[in-house]
Symmetry: C2
Subunit: 143 residues, 2 copies
């Protein structure tokens, strides 16, 4: 599936007249190898450790491209950093964010998604994306 994602990006790049570069390949590889909601800074550090010389700006610019290409999704939590998560087609999860230990639990709920569609329809609104975050304390931090 990693190959599939690379193809997705290449197709996107081709359709936009963008070039395929060493940096974009590296950043995509490393992004795909992560599993968390990674911040740009964190990704930049990972990239730099195996590949010094790649700059901040390139990582920022490249992640925006991934988002445009539909490979990544920007998420804003409450920590002042932009984070990105993988987009898996047909799957959407929301987050339980623990304000105690900052851990994030993902969940998915079809009924909520369905209700959202209804609400949107009621307002003549065309949904593009959505996000939901629930803040509180996780099982560990409650005690």
């Amino acid at each position: 599936m990693i190959l599939e994602k690379k193809k997705t990006f290449n197709d996107f790049a081709a359709s936009k007249g963008l070039r395929s570069t060493r940096q974009r390949d590296i950043i995509l590889d490393i992004f795909l190898s992560t599993h968390e909601h990674i911040s740009v800074e964190e990704l930049y550090l990972k990239v730099k450790s195996s590949n010094p010389g790649i700059g901040h700006a390139t990582v920022y610019r490249t992640l925006k491209l991934f988002a445009e290409a539909g490979l990544a999704r920007e998420i804003l939590l409450h920590d002042g950093q932009t984070r990105y998560e993988h987009v898996v087609k047909g799957e959407h999860h929301d987050h339980l964010v623990c304000t105690g230990c900052n851990s994030i639990i993902e969940f998915e709920d079809e009924t909520i998604e369905k209700l959202q569609s209804e609400i949107a329809a009621r307002h003549g609104f065309l949904i593009n994306s959505h996000k939901m975050e629930i803040y509180g304390l996780c099982a560990n931090c409650r005690r």
Copy 2:
């Protein structure tokens, strides 16, 4: 109800050993007179127009206090500014954010709230707050 809110803040201030100052009164008044999801900068400008001399920092610091006091809630949309909305007890609304004209439609849905509680319970999670934003195009912008 404005008086009620002022009382809420005064009680909060008293319980924390905070002082009641001219600036906090003014900022609270103006905040309560707004109805939108106002950004700190916007509020600062409003404050300054009727009351030049009040600084940026004071508005930032004061809004944080309001949030702590339970009068305001921080919301993060995708425009790089922190915004605040009023907290009305017992009422919670979520947002339909139009990416075309940046308008925001508020809605409330009890069923969704209930589902959230269930999901949280399933994960042993204690909810403190939550937010949900649906992005897309409003009826006007679809055409």
